[in-house]
Structures are given as structure tokens and as C-alpha cells.
């Protein structure tokens, strides 16, 4: 009986434990690959464009829509107890601390992360990754490091843009549509916003960028089972990236904004 229970527990945790072990090993190889020349400058730039620039349109739309709807709800809600004057503050704090990093991360993980898993997964099942190795090229260094760096660098950059565009969206709704005076809205925005809000948001973004690229590349790298396997890897990459971003967001916030 007890043996059965232990066997059952073992069977349940075996796969996740194996996955965690492999992810940690992948992270170690990434860090080692980052420090060792040759540096894959061309691949890094290519991935930065892919992750950063190509995600920009979706990020912009998401940011402006969120800023606008946030300002709208805050205005109608706060007017119930005469606190319309605080809308700018709430929009600015929510965008920089929370919506900037999280929305940018979700958009980029859904777009670029899925593409990473699909691309690496296809390369895996068509033996292109094996071929790289036989040509004396370390596939982690050649394929994964540039994607990891692109996530780490571009997500904070996209976060700043999301912050600014979101705040502008709030400004537009409040000032242009609802008639708050521009001066008092801007004052509400600036007076309570601290540098800490912005750079803590950026720290979150760095973490999310590292996490979703690591997860997506891991899923791609360990793909098996042909086209169906690539589909599974892609879905898995997006689901696990989203889960990781949303769950870690709470803990990061609790830790950063003590």
C-alpha cells in the first residue's frame, strides 16, 4: 500500500521534476554561452527586431486601449466620492507598476514566444539542431542565447513605451473626452509618480522577458513527434509563459513594492 502511494507520487512528480531540471540546465548553458565568444551579434540583432520592433503595433494598441479604459472606469468610479482629481495618479501608478510590464510581457510571449517555440521545435524535429551540432556549433549559443537576450533587453524597452502610451491614452479620455483640465491631470500624474514605480516595473519586465524566452526555447528544444509535437510545444510555450508571468507578477510585486 505504502509502496503504491510512493510509486504514485513518484509517477506524478517525475515529469515536472525532469522538466524543471532540464530548464535549469538550459539556463546554465545560456549563461555560459553568453559569456563565451563568438558573440552572435547578427542573430541577436535579428531577434531584437523580431521581439521588439515587430511586436510594437500590438503593444501600442494594447497599451492605448488599456490606458483609455482604465481612465474611463476610474473617472466614473471616483466621481462617486468626488475623487476625480486622482484619476491621473491611479492611471500612472497602474500603468508603470502593473499594466506596462504585464501587458507587454503577455503580448510578446503570445507573439514572439510562440514563434520561438514553433521555429526551434521545427528545427528540432527536422534534425536541423542536430545538424548544427555536427557542424561544431553549439545550438544553445547560436539559437537560444540571442532569443534570451532579445527578451531580456526588449521587454523593458516595450514596457516603457507601454507606460507612456497608456498614460497618454488616459490623458486623452480624461482631458479631451471628459473635460478635466490638462494641467490638473498632468499634476495628478506627476506628483505621486516616483522613479521607483518605473524602474520596479522594468525589473519585472526583465524577469518576464527572461522567463518567457527560457520557457519558449525550452519547449522548442525538447520537441518530439513531428508536426503534432511542434503544435504541442507552441501551445505549451504560450500557456506556461502566461502562467509564469501572471503568478510571478504577484510575488514580484509583493517583493518590489514593499
Amino acid at each position: 500500500m505504502i509502496v503504491k502511494v510512493i510509486e504514485f507520487i513518484g509517477a506524478v512528480i517525475e515529469k515536472p521534476a525532469l522538466g524543471m531540471g532540464r530548464i535549469v540546465l538550459l539556463l546554465v548553458s545560456i549563461l555560459r554561452g553568453m559569456l563565451k565568444p563568438p558573440f552572435e551579434i547578427r542573430n541577436i540583432i535579428g531577434q531584437m527586431l523580431e521581439v521588439g520592433v515587430n511586436s510594437l503595433p500590438v503593444v501600442l494598441i494594447t497599451a492605448i486601449a488599456t490606458g483609455m479604459v482604465l481612465a474611463l472606469h476610474m473617472y466614473t468610479g471616483f466621481s462617486r466620492f468626488g475623487a476625480e482629481g486622482l484619476v491621473g495618479t491611479v492611471v500612472a501608478l497602474s500603468m508603470t507598476r502593473e499594466f506596462g510590464p504585464v501587458l507587454a510581457a503577455l503580448v510578446v510571449a503570445g507573439r514572439a514566444g510562440a514563434a520561438m517555440a514553433a521555429e526551434l521545435g521545427t528545427m528540432k524535429v527536422t534534425e536541423q539542431i542536430d545538424a548544427l551540432e555536427t557542424l561544431a556549433v553549439n545550438p544553445v549559443k547560436y539559437l537560444v542565447v540571442p532569443r534570451f537576450l532579445a527578451g531580456l533587453i526588449m521587454l523593458p524597452a516595450l514596457t516603457i513605451i507601454t507606460d507612456i502610451v497608456g498614460i497618454l491614452g488616459g490623458y486623452f479620455v480624461n482631458v479631451v473626452l471628459l473635460g478635466t483640465s490638462s494641467k490638473s491631470y498632468l499634476r495628478a500624474t506627476w506628483d505621486f509618480l516616483q522613479m521607483e514605480d518605473i524602474y520596479n516595473g522594468m525589473i519585472k519586465a526583465c524577469f518576464f522577458g527572461a522567463a518567457f524566452t527560457l520557457i519558449s526555447c525550452y519547449k522548442g528544444f525538447y520537441t518530439s513527434g513531428g508536426a503534432e509535437g511542434v503544435g504541442r510545444a507552441t501551445t505549451g510555450a504560450v500557456v506556461y509563459s502566461f502562467m509564469t508571468i501572471l503568478i510571478s507578477d504577484y510575488f514580484l510585486s509583493a517583493w518590489l513594492f514593499r
Binding site: T126, D130, A131, A136, V137
Partner: protein, 252 residues
């Protein structure tokens, strides 16, 4: 030059290699035959360190592959060329970038020199004027030949071919056979070829070895294999459905 010593390899409870011994001399062209799923590709991947044995060891130039560090292994891999079953061309790169990939990374040649040398290698496999095409535009036979050009780009000492003629029409298969023979003669390489195409095996082999149940059960010159009395080998080379080799799901 290449030696398998008591190599075991399993995937979960699938025991693929079960104490395999095999010796390949310098300059020899060995062909390993065996049914689908018997572990031929697994065997080949052990030679170049894409897989490591669970037990036993694979030696290349008397170095145990699994005990080498990454730099040592990469140094060694530059002496190898491998043609994959599926060609495994990089589909984000043009044909010449595929062929010149290792040259660009491991030599100080300029881009234009790499392109020129890639064209030369492509000419060796009978391909002209497709340098700037993408792999997706090519037929299966052409992809195999581009894969071969990529494998020989760094003038390797050892060539590994995984089912070079599988999936090709008889004429293209013959073209590949001739190319393999030409490489062996002109470049004076050692080669390990995996196949279940007996016509091809007789043609390109100095030695034929048969993989069955995870070990090499028979090894000899093409002539010896052709005249063997071993019932398993006979059944395989004659392509009979009935005999000692069981096919999953078929009762005899």
C-alpha cells in the same frame, strides 16, 4: 579509426543497442544494414556525439567521444561530415549559406570566398546555379545533394550518411551512390553509411555489417554477405517476409 566497444543504449524500456561492437578502419567504406527502427540512426548519432552510450564507449581516433569536453568535441566534429536522413538543411538560409555555414564560422574566409567555395562544392555534387535558392524550393534529390555539399565543405576525413538513397527515385538514388563512391575515392575519406537499400549497399561498401537486435550479427565484404548462410542476413538481403526476422503485428 572508429570503434564501438560494448555500446548499450536504451530509451526508457526500449533497448535499442545491446552491447554493440564495431570497428571501422581508416579509409574503409562500411555500410550498416538493418530493418526500420532497429537503431541504425541511433548508431550513427553515437559516432559524432549527438547521443552518448548508457554503457560502453565509442572511440574516434582513440578518444572516447562521451568523455570529451565541448571544445574537444567541436574540434573533432570539424573532421566529420554528416548527411542526414531528412537532409536537415537550414530552411532560413539560402543554399550557399547552408553549404558555407561551417566555413563562415570556423575559418577566416571572406564572405565572397565562402560563396565561391560553396559553388565549387555544389558543382562537385552536380548542382549549378541554385546558390541563391531557398531549400524549400528544391526537390528531395537536390536537397540530399545540397546536404552532401554541406557535409564535404570542410574537407572532412570521415563522412556519415544516414539513408542517403531512401525516398529517392532510382535515378536520383544512383546519382547519390555514384557521388558517395566519388567522395570516397577522390577525397579519400572513411565513411559509415546506413541503409536498407541493398543495391546501394553492394555498390558503395568495402564492408557490410548487419544490425539486428541491438548488435552487429554479421560482417563481411559485399561478396561474403551476398553468399552468407546466416538465415537472418539471407532473409534481409533477399527481402523475404517470412524467416527468422519478425515484423511487428504480422504472424507467420
Amino acid at each position: 579509426m572508429i570503434e564501438f566497444r560494448d555500446v548499450h543504449k536504451s530509451f526508457e524500456d526500449n533497448n535499442v543497442l545491446q552491447g554493440l561492437n564495431l570497428n571501422v578502419d581508416k579509409g574503409e567504406s562500411i555500410v550498416v544494414i538493418g530493418g526500420s527502427g532497429t537503431g541504425k540512426s541511433v548508431l550513427l548519432k553515437h559516432v559524432i556525439g549527438l547521443m552518448n552510450p548508457d554503457n560502453g564507449a565509442v572511440y574516434v581516433d582513440s578518444n572516447s567521444i562521451s568523455e570529451m569536453n565541448e571544445d574537444g568535441l567541436n574540434q573533432l566534429r570539424k573532421k566529420f561530415g554528416m548527411l542526414f536522413q531528412s537532409s536537415a538543411l537550414f530552411d532560413s538560409m539560402t543554399v550557399w549559406e547552408n553549404v558555407g555555414f561551417a566555413l563562415k564560422r570556423h575559418t577566416s574566409m571572406s564572405e565572397s570566398d565562402v560563396k565561391e567555395l560553396s559553388s565549387e562544392k555544389l558543382k562537385m555534387v552536380g548542382l549549378v546555379g541554385i546558390e541563391d535558392d531557398m531549400p524549400a524550393q528544391l526537390s528531395g534529390g537536390m536537397r540530399k545533394r545540397v546536404g552532401l555539399a554541406r557535409a564535404i565543405a570542410m574537407n572532412p576525413e570521415i563522412l556519415l550518411y544516414d539513408e542517403p538513397t531512401t525516398g529517392l527515385d532510382p535515378i536520383n538514388a544512383e546519382v547519390i551512390n555514384d557521388l558517395i563512391i566519388k567522395m570516397n575515392e577522390e577525397l579519400n575519406v572513411t565513411s559509415v553509411t546506413i541503409t536498407h537499400d541493398m543495391k546501394s549497399a553492394y555498390k558503395i561498401a568495402d564492408t557490410i555489417a548487419m544490425l539486428y537486435n541491438g548488435v552487429i550479427i554479421s560482417r563481411g565484404t559485399p561478396e561474403e554477405i551476398r553468399n552468407t548462410t546466416d538465415p537472418v542476413v539471407r532473409q534481409f538481403i533477399e527481402g523475404k517476409a517470412s524467416g527468422p526476422i519478425s515484423v511487428e503485428g504480422i504472424d507467420k
